[in-house]
Symmetry: C2
Subunit: 151 residues, 2 copies
């Protein structure tokens, strides 16, 4: 993991984490080097794969997705993992899926419009996936932290 990052790189990264469309020249003026230099540093950071891309962030609430929930899924056998994931990928409300140690085999994060939709998603979409034995659901009532790891 030989990626070395100095203070200027940190400023560049932090400005672009706040707003990925910040003009490079405005960062250049802030740190006091030329735009070309910023540009080359960015390319280096991309080549190193530290920068994985940039994303427009949507607010799910504006689309009506007001409920966030986590669901732990018990599988009948570990061998059903791959096929279960395939099915989960087809459910748009599933925004994260992990294979975890501990209680469950699969652990997912989902967004729903309301509790009726959540119930429908659980009973109709998730519970009916082949291999799914049982689920445990935790509804997020409040999210206080949502950030990236710091450089």
């Amino acid at each position: 993991m030989g990626v070395k990052i100095d203070g200027i790189d940190k400023i560049i990264i932090n400005r672009l984490i706040e707003d990925a469309r910040t003009p490079i020249l405005s960062i250049a003026r802030e740190v006091g080097i030329s735009g070309a230099a910023i540009h080359q540093r960015l390319r280096k950071l991309e080549v190193s794969k530290l920068i994985a891309g940039s994303q427009l962030m949507l607010d799910p609430k504006v689309l009506g997705y007001t409920t966030t929930a986590f669901v732990g899924i018990f599988l009948e056998s570990a061998s059903m993992y791959a096929s279960a994931i395939k099915r989960l990928k087809n459910i748009p409300e599933v925004v994260e899926s992990h294979y975890t140690t501990g209680n469950w085999a699969i652990f997912i994060k989902i967004l729903c419009k309301n509790n009726t939709d959540l119930m429908h998603l659980l009973n109709h979409d998730i519970q009916r996936i082949k291999g799914v034995a049982r689920t445990e659901t935790f509804i997020s009532l409040d999210q206080q932290i949502n950030r990236q790891i710091k450089v």
Copy 2:
């Protein structure tokens, strides 16, 4: 929640979710309307708050953060929630925190460099937060889905 989005808006959004720095004019050429029109649509979507911003995405693995874990936290009493969150905010490895129904009061997502760091984080940083009674940890061995809600 009166935000109506047509096919062109969807294309704009999806292109910018893939790469937030995509030039507006290249989207304009793709959909066959002028850059000015794309620009106006984007402004409308920003005003509607559907677009919450844009972010540079870092790859935590390149920084050495190879372990993702979820930790359920039991609190001695719900009244310690606010102060516990305050302490969690000071732990950079904590990237998400939720107040959840079900077993735990607080549910967090953390990134660590390895299992030793994870243990240290749990025993030294998290367990010692005032009000934290007990924790349950789930390590993610594999993440197969990571996306935003679709428009």
